[in-house]
């Protein structure tokens, strides 16, 4: 079963200068028990996507079409808000970049972990034990004593692990992790992603992991979705994307990663040009103005080309790997 199926989703915001199409024909699946990484630069629509899934779009945002099907039954684009509230937390949980923003600074960790179990029918002691169990799972030393402490008494890495423990406490079907390791240094980042992988297997949930750190994505995720200017330009398994990218944007993005330059260089590769104005989207390919493989055919909307085994790229030459100039 697919935990989350997003099909042809379109989201726009009304602005003074006219409608801004933040997401255009976005389709991908988050299969059961998989970790799906979402990659894309800031402004590519990652946050809009999360908010659309959670039913938290700003007042000027609207879903103009498409569907977000959760666990094969709940259509999130038209769900009554009361039902959405039942899903948020117990079934769909989130972890954000800044753990301090997720934890209340003036309430002890234990009390916060009790509070979020308000729907549970367990007794207070049982809830306490559950909280201890979760803190032990995320390797907080001396978990029972930790319940009495306040967020500022933990290090940044520990706070993020507490936030993860809280998100997974109700054993959700889907965890949305929005850049959860960006604020951590390399050693903590690695421990956090290893922990996340471990917990995902223990709990058996699906994870949507948003990051612009390609190394973290490569290490953690099963599948990868590449977004550019509000469109999914390519999606596939982590090996398909990192070893055989078919969309020129994916290929260029991977080349830009300083981690791929084994030789020390003072001049790092970049993608020249800027993202087009989303209020005036080009009719054709969204990447055409920055693509060095552009041709006349790119002025028509490109099809989602199926390369096989779930590998899809929105580019007319995606099925001719020699033409995408990929040097993976």
């Amino acid at each position: 079963m697919t935990t989350l199926r997003i099909d042809n989703l379109n989201v726009s915001f009304s602005t003074e200068a006219g409608p801004l199409h933040a997401l255009k024909n976005v389709s991908f699946d988050v299969p059961e028990n998989r970790i799906v990484g979402i990659v894309g630069e800031s402004g590519c629509g990652k946050s809009t996507l999360i908010n659309a899934i959670l039913g938290l779009l700003a007042d000027n945002g609207s879903i103009d079409g498409g569907s977000i099907l959760f666990e094969g039954q709940d259509e999130l684009t038209s769900l009554p808000s009361s039902r959405m509230r039942d899903l948020r937390g117990p079934r769909i949980a989130t972890v954000f970049q800044d753990p301090m923003g997720a934890l209340n600074p003036v309430i002890s960790v234990g009390k916060q972990m009790l509070n979020i179990q308000y729907r549970s029918t367990l007794s207070k002691d049982e809830k306490m034990n559950r909280a201890v169990e979760m803190l032990e799972l995320v390797r907080i030393p001396d978990a029972r004593a930790a319940l009495a402490r306040y967020p500022h008494q933990f290090s940044g890495g520990m706070k993020q692990r507490i936030a993860i423990a809280m998100a997974l406490m109700m054993e959700p079907a889907l965890l949305i992790a929005d850049e959860p390791t960006t604020a951590l240094d390399a050693t903590l980042e690695v421990t956090t992603i290893e922990l996340l992988k471990d917990l995902q297997q223990k709990i058996g949930c699906s994870v949507m992991f948003i990051s612009h750190h390609l190394g973290v994505i490569a290490e953690l995720c099963d599948d990868v979705v590449v977004m550019y200017a509000g469109e999914v330009v390519e999606r596939g398994t982590v090996r398909q994307i990192f070893q055989d990218p078919r969309h020129p944007y994916t290929a260029r993005l991977l080349e830009c990663d300083p981690a791929r330059q084994s030789e020390r260089t003072r001049h790092l590769p970049t993608i020249p040009g800027e993202i087009p104005d989303l209020r005036a989207r080009p009719a054709g390919c969204i990447f055409a103005n920055r693509c060095d493989l552009v041709s006349d055919a790119c002025s028509a909307p490109p099809p989602d080309k199926d390369i096989g085994d779930g590998h899809v790229a929105r580019c007319i030459i995606a099925d001719c790997p020699e033409e995408t100039g990929v040097t993976a």
Partner: protein, 333 residues
Amino acid sequence: MSSDPILKVEDVQVSFPVGGFGRRNSILGVAGVSFEVNRGETFALVGESGSGKTTLARAVNGLQEISAGSITFEDQRIDELDPRAMKPVRKRMSMMFQDPVGSLSPRMTVGDLVTEPFRIHGIEGRNLRDEAERLLTLVGLPTSFDSRFPHQLSGGQARRVGVARAIALDPALIIADEPTAGLDVSVQGEVLNLLNDLRERLGLAMVIITHNLHVVHHVADRTAVMYLGRFVEAGETEEVFSAPQHPYTAALLSANPEPDPDKTHDRITLPAEVPSLLARPSGCEFHTRCPWAQSQCSFDAPERHVTDERVIACHFPLAPGARPPEQKESVLS
């Protein structure tokens, strides 16, 4: 390398008061750090959050009072200067702050923002419009941007405006605090290339603070690794990366995620959490997490040795490619 230090930091300490009302105490955010930055050189400060990188940068720029040590910039002691006397120094040493959009006033246009340094320092006799044009061109932004407001900029563009402000008064040294945090890889490359071009063209020295080790590898001439407010290792970037001698450096480098799903990782895992600055461990402060720690490390603080341009604070410096003892055993069993 010819030694022509533009900045000389000696045994600098920064302490912060904590507690209050009968429990007054203080912690050392920076606990005795020395380094030099030469003209035209890029010096990187690496370390986890809370290791004192930003505090050290603020201390160098005079934004944070130091409690011991000395800072010499262009042959002038600057740590004892009062704010008024510090002002001309800031023309020569500029700072780029972490948050690219947050460090720009939302109510000023880009043109006003890039020429604000001239107004602050009362530099007259220049046409500010021309200056704005010159600076925007230098950082690769269209001159039409001078009427835009910060919220109309992308993260990368806001960074460029930050760079334009930093170079406006022809400084000799730029301190850049996480210049690429939050930027995606292609924009990150643009900002780093820009800083590097400017360094070459204007002969700038740079101090870059970051926790992105891939970035450090490419842009920095020398790198210092900080842990709990001290340098545990410092040296030529290439050498530090190819043969780390301090266990913490080795662990940091081995933890660096690589964009290759099939890469097998031979990681050095660090047991235990980062200690609190309120309860610094005795002896070598890294011994609580060090896989190589021996009994001597728990009571005897290592001296800093300097060998071949490498500074290292460890009793038992690692040989190249060393593996932690316990992990070796587990492989055998």
